[in-house]
């Protein structure tokens, strides 16, 4: 029971979910989800796994495939081998070379180009 009582839910490699996944705690997707995911904890898309839908989570690590928008309070990490398409919002978004992406990053930060950039 020890493992089950943890706050992390797991959708195993052969598990397919069609519908909406929401709630508290973390989620590791090893199978596939078609539908939106909205959780309070950290989300992870394992290698070979996929989500087709929007994801809202504390953070998100993608090693599999994601087609959908992401809204994370924390970081979004795209690992090598991942395939990601959608709008990504997070405190920061990292992308490993070797991933395939077509994403829009809407990270908030100040771009300081130095004083001379306010030119002329």
């Amino acid at each position: 029971m020890a493992r089950h009582s943890s706050e992390v839910s797991v959708l195993g490699p052969s598990t397919q979910v069609t519908g909406r996944v929401s709630g508290e705690g973390g989620l590791r997707v090893e199978g596939s989800v078609r539908g939106d995911v909205q959780i309070t904890g950290d989300a992870e898309i394992a290698p070979g796994a996929s989500i087709e839908g929007n994801v809202a989570a504390a953070s998100l690590e993608i090693s599999g495939t994601l087609q959908g928008d992401v809204n994370a309070r924390g970081p979004v990490a795209i690992r090598s081998g991942a395939v990601v398409r959608g709008d990504l919002r997070g405190s920061e978004v990292s992308i490993e070379p070797g991933s395939r992406v077509a994403v829009r990053l809407t990270t908030d930060f100040e771009l300081d180009l130095g004083p001379a950039a306010r030119r002329r």
Binding site: G12, T18, S22, E24, G31
Partner: protein, 104 residues
């Protein structure tokens, strides 16, 4: 050891299909089918038809349950729905309302 665990805080509205053991401790509305064992934990509320190799219910289930092997309603578990299974037990302290088809 379960391949799939729907944790206590998690809710799924929709359909789950799997070839591995599925443990539900959260909430599920829709449909759940696995070729392996399914267990519905004591804290979970499920409104779904459930199919598994075997199904163990310790939480609240509304929906039809079928399993080629067996269906067990544990103490404290509650099932409102029909059961289709070769073997079927209702523990002391469990509640059940529905029809039973044991494929005789």
């Amino acid at each position: 050891m379960a391949g799939t665990v729907i944790g206590e805080g998690l809710s799924i509205e929709g359909e789950i299909t799997s070839d591995e053991e599925v443990v539900v401790q959260g909430n599920l509305r829709g449909k759940l089918s696995s070729t392996d064992a399914v267990s519905i934990g004591p804290s979970s509320v499920v409104q779904a038809d459930i199919a598994g190799q075997s199904v163990s219910i310790a939480g609240q289930v509304t929906g039809d349950v079928s399993a080629p092997e067996r269906v067990d309603i544990q103490a404290g578990g509650r099932l409102v729905g029909d059961v289709k299974a070769a073997r079927f037990t209702i523990a002391d302290g469990a509640s059940f309302k529905g029809a039973v088809d044991m494929e005789v």
